[in-house]
Symmetry: C2
């Protein structure tokens, strides 16, 4: 059963949780707030929407052959998911809000029509997918590094800004640890060790190379 | 210095190394064979091509703040890379053939023109990027799993075909180990343990769940 709580008419959080989306895409989207554990769609449902996640986390999971829970993707704020809905068919997994989540649902049919009719928009959409691919691939390489320190430094080098790789975690250090495939304790230890070694500086929430 | 060895006029390997590309994209591409270590492009070069990798591996790397080597992505056969070239600017990293590599170079300008003029092609291009995103995200989740056995089972569940998750490694088990963030020895041990536990069957090169 899908329980979607409609967003209030003048959502105060809308402005507070922008997606890095072209205005044309945002204009097509309908905002929805999901209570923790709510299924946004289930495997086998007709694929009718492409989603953006403005806030929270959404887990895309599937039941394995032996009945086990297979997480295919844990979508983070700022990302799209279910982009393949653009091409119809059915969802191959179930999407569930992990905590409270704010999603932007774009009807696949409207998106398809816009891609057909507006070449500039088609280029913007392609740029959006290419940027997500770049970030996801960098994350793969980071997770393949053996040492926790190397993963932290790789993050700042690839996602940080400016010469000193200034990087502001999107939410908590606990969430950052999960993103880096580390336990929170391992991340805290690693940050402290990098600071002692003079390789990292902490500037409020911002991490910087030095 | 970029040394690109032109492909012979009637390349016998062309048919042997197809890319999972729509014919319209393949028609725009120029095939190139790269000798090991050859730079396909360097950070700072004008971004003029989007690439597909038909065979081999290409490392996308950057020099870090402290002069260290940062691998941003290790492209595998069947994948695209440098998709952001479509939107102009300069390459942000250097691409280098790891062994011998066969690449398909698509001029960004021709690709942009085609995306503008051909809405069906724009949808095909979007589908290609969405499929790569799906696979790359599943790989992120797999690398976040602690146990080697869980990573192998996740691979078969997400990338395998049919009820028994039949999965044929793209090249060697050594390459598969790297893809799973494992040492070759750890992968061999894990496959043997899963077979003993009756959870995996090896059928020539094919791995199957049971």
């Amino acid at each position: 059963m899908i329980r979607i709580m409609p967003h209030p008419a003048n959502p105060p959080r809308r402005a507070a949780t922008p997606l890095p989306w072209p205005p044309a895409l945002e204009a097509m989207a309908e905002r929805r707030r999901l209570a923790p554990g709510t299924a946004l769609f289930r495997a086998g449902d007709p694929a009718r929407h492409v989603f953006g996640l403005a806030q929270g986390q959404v887990a895309l999971r599937r039941v394995g052959v032996a009945g086990e829970d297979i997480v295919i993707h844990l979508a983070q704020a700022g990302e799209c998911f279910a982009e393949a809905s653009l091409h119809g068919g059915h969802y191959h997994c179930t999407a569930e809000a992990v905590g409270t989540a704010d999603v932007a649902a774009v009807p696949a049919e409207a998106l398809r029509a816009r891609l057909r009719d507006d070449p500039d928009f088609a280029l913007q959409w392609s740029a959006l997918l290419a940027a997500q691919l770049r970030r996801t691939r960098a994350r793969v390489e980071r997770l393949c590094l053996r040492s926790a320190a190397d993963r932290v430094l790789h993050l700042l080098q690839t996602e940080g800004h400016g010469r000193d790789g200034a990087y502001t975690p999107r939410s908590t250090l606990r969430a950052l640890a999960a993103e880096l495939g580390l336990t929170p304790e391992a991340l805290y230890r690693t940050l402290a060790a990098l600071q002692r070694a003079g390789r990292l500086r902490r500037d409020g929430p911002v991490l910087r190379l030095r």
